[in-house]
C-alpha cells in the first residue's frame, strides 16, 4: 500500500480548502440569484436545493406541456375531500356569490375580488396534466384568470420575492416564487372542461400550477399575499408541506 506522503497530505489539504471556499462562493451566488428554496435546511436540504436551482436555471421561462382536446381525460379523479368548513358550506349554499379572494401584502393596491370580478379580467385556458406525487394523473382543460393579471392589477412592489396563498382552511397554506407566479399557466381556476370548476376538483377557486405536482395546486383559495420575507410565514419553510416532509418546490 502506498504510504501517505507529506506531498499527498498538503495536496489533500489544499483541495479541501479550495472545495469549501468554492461551496461558500457557490452558495452566495445561488442566494443572490434566487436558487435556494425556503426549505434548504436539514439532511434533505442539499437535494432540495440542487433540484430547485437546476429547475430555475432550466425551466423558468418554459411553459408546461399542453395537450390536444382529444387527450382530455374522460374520467378524471378528483381526489375529493370533505367540505372543509361550515363557512364553505354556507358559501356553497349561496352559489359562491359571496366567495372572496383577498390580495394583499407587498402590493400597491390591495384587492378584494369576487368570482364575478375575476371573470371580468382576461380569461385564459389551458389543457394540461395534473400529476399527483402518488403517481396518478389526468388531463383536463382548466379555465381561469392568470395569477399574473391579478398581481399586475394589485401592483406588486419591487421587493416582492414570493406569493403566499391560502385555502379556506388557512393552515394548509402554500407559496411560489415569482418565476411560477408570473408563468402564464399559473391560473386562478374557476372553470374545468367547459363548465364551472366542480367542488371536488377545488371549486369554486383553485390555484393551478401545471409545472409542479398536484399538491401545490391548492383547492378553495381565498387569499393571496405577496411578500419579501417568506421566513415570516409558518415555520419559515415556504409552505405547510415541508413540515410533513414534502418538498416546498414540487416541480421535481
Amino acid at each position: 500500500m502506498n504510504p501517505i506522503t507529506r506531498r499527498k497530505l498538503i495536496r489533500g489539504g489544499v483541495a479541501a480548502t479550495v472545495g469549501v471556499a468554492g461551496l461558500e462562493a457557490a452558495g452566495r451566488i445561488a442566494r443572490r440569484y434566487g436558487l435556494i428554496p425556503p426549505d434548504s435546511g436539514g439532511i434533505y436540504g442539499p437535494g432540495e436545493t440542487l433540484t430547485y436551482a437546476c429547475q430555475r436555471l432550466l425551466t423558468t421561462r418554459l411553459p408546461a406541456r399542453e395537450f390536444s382536446r382529444s387527450m382530455i381525460s374522460k374520467n378524471p379523479f378528483a381526489n375529493e375531500i370533505a367540505r372543509p368548513t361550515d363557512e364553505f358550506k354556507r358559501l356553497e349554499a349561496g352559489g359562491f356569490k359571496d366567495w372572496r379572494l383577498v390580495v394583499d401584502g407587498t402590493v400597491a393596491h390591495p384587492l378584494v375580488l369576487s368570482l364575478a370580478d375575476l371573470k371580468t379580467m382576461p380569461i385564459a385556458s389551458q389543457i394540461t396534466e395534473i400529476a399527483c406525487e402518488e403517481g396518478w394523473s389526468y388531463v383536463a382543460e382548466w379555465i381561469g384568470t392568470p395569477l399574473s393579471s391579478v398581481l399586475r392589477e394589485a401592483g406588486i412592489l419591487p421587493q416582492t420575492r414570493y406569493i403566499v396563498y391560502y385555502p379556506i382552511e388557512k393552515f394548509l397554506w402554500g407559496s411560489i416564487d415569482l418565476a411560477d407566479a408570473w408563468d402564464e399557466h399559473t391560473l386562478l381556476t374557476t372553470g374545468m372542461n367547459d363548465g364551472d370548476l366542480p367542488v371536488p376538483f377545488g371549486g369554486p377557486l383553485r390555484l393551478r400550477l401545471p409545472r409542479q405536482l398536484g399538491y401545490k395546486s391548492l383547492k378553495f383559495v381565498t387569499h393571496v399575499t405577496a411578500t419579501d420575507d417568506i421566513k415570516k410565514f409558518g415555520k419559515g419553510l415556504g409552505s405547510v408541506d415541508p413540515e410533513g416532509g414534502y418538498s416546498w418546490y414540487a416541480g421535481i
Binding site: 500500500m1 502506498n2 439532511i43 434533505y44 442539499p46 437535494g47 432540495e48 440542487l50 433540484t51 429547475q55 432550466l58 425551466t59 418554459l62 411553459p63 408546461a64 406541456r65 395537450f67 387527450m71 381525460s73 374520467n75 378524471p76 379523479f77 381526489n79 396534466e129 400529476a131 399527483c132 406525487e133 402518488e134 403517481g135 396518478w136 394523473s137 389526468y138 388531463v139 401545471p210 409545472r211 409542479q212 405536482l213 410533513g244 416532509g245 414534502y246 418538498s247 416541480g251 421535481i252
Partner: protein, 244 residues
C-alpha cells in the same frame, strides 16, 4: 511509488475512483430502492400512456395494500404513509447517483477504463463465446488465466448493460415524470409514450437493477466474498494470490 517487489506481490484490482464511485452508487441505490418501494405503496397501480388514475383501467396492479385510502386494493386496511421523507431521500439519493455517475463516466472515458475493462472484446461478440462462458459459469469452473485481473464476457456484458443502459434509462424515466423538467424537454416524455409509460418503465428498470444487484452479490459471494470485498474496498487482493 511502491517498490518493485510490492508490485509483483499485489494485484491492483480497482482504482480509487472506481472504488469510491462504486460504494457511493451502492449507498444511493439502496436508498433509491427502499424509498422507491415506499412511493409505489402509495399507488401500486401501473398504467400505459399519458394518464392513469383509479378511474382508469390499469395495465396491472401490484397485489399489495396501499398507503392511501383512495386506492382500491383487496385489503381492508391502509398502510402507514411514508411518502414525505421517502420522496425527499429518493431525490437526494438520485442526485448522489447522478453526480457519482458523471464523475465515473468522465473517468471511464478519459482513462480508457470502459474500453479496457467493460466493453466486451471485439472477438467475443458472438454466441459461441457467450454460450461457452455461460456453461463455464454454471459448472462453476474456476476463472481461466485470461480472466486474471479482468472480466469475462458475461461480466462485461452485465456491467456494461447496467452502466450504459439501465442506469441512464432509470434516470431518464425518472426525469420524464417531472412536470418542470418535461416543460423544458417535452420530448423526454413523449418519446416514451407518456408520463404513465415512463413510470411503468421506471419500475421495470428498477426491478432489473435489483435483480442485477442480487446476482452480483451472489457471484461475489461465490467467488470469495472477503477477497472480492477487499478488492473493492482496499483496491488489491491478497499478497501473492492470483499470480499464477
Amino acid at each position: 511509488m511502491p517498490a518493485a517487489s510490492q508490485l509483483e506481490s499485489t494485484t491492483v484490482r480497482h482504482s480509487a475512483v472506481v472504488r469510491v464511485t462504486h460504494w457511493l452508487t451502492f449507498i444511493a441505490f439502496v436508498a433509491l430502492l427502499v424509498t422507491g418501494g415506499e412511493i409505489v405503496i402509495s399507488h401500486p397501480r401501473f398504467y400505459w400512456g399519458e394518464v392513469g388514475n383509479v378511474n382508469t383501467k390499469p395495465l396491472f396492479a401490484i397485489p399489495i395494500p396501499a398507503s392511501r385510502d383512495t386506492v382500491p386494493t383487496n385489503y381492508g386496511y391502509v398502510m402507514p404513509d411514508q411518502n414525505g421523507w421517502s420522496r425527499a431521500l429518493h431525490f437526494e439519493a438520485a442526485w448522489v447517483a447522478v453526480l457519482t455517475g458523471v464523475v465515473y463516466g468522465i473517468y471511464g472515458l478519459v482513462t480508457g477504463h470502459f474500453r479496457r475493462n467493460l466493453i466486451p472484446k471485439r472477438h467475443d461478440w458472438n454466441w459461441r463465446v457467450y454460450r461457452e462462458q455461460i456453461v463455464r459459469t454454471l459448472r462453476r469452473k474456476r476463472p481461466g488465466p485470461d480472466e486474471d485481473g479482468s472480466y469475462n464476457v458475461l461480466q462485461r456484458t452485465a456491467y456494461a448493460a447496467v452502466i450504459f443502459v439501465l442506469f441512464p434509462l432509470v434516470i431518464w424515466t425518472g426525469l420524464a415524470m417531472s412536470p418542470a423538467f418535461t416543460a423544458a424537454c417535452p420530448w423526454t416524455v413523449e418519446l416514451l409514450g407518456g408520463r404513465q409509460s415512463a413510470r411503468t418503465i421506471h419500475l421495470f428498470d428498477s426491478i432489473v437493477l435489483l435483480t442485477f444487484l442480487v446476482v452480483h452479490v451472489w457471484m461475489v459471494a461465490a467467488s470469495g466474498f472477503r477477497r472480492r470485498m477487499r478488492g473493492m474496498i482496499a483496491g488489491y487482493g491478497e499478497r501473492g494470490e492470483e499470480q499464477r
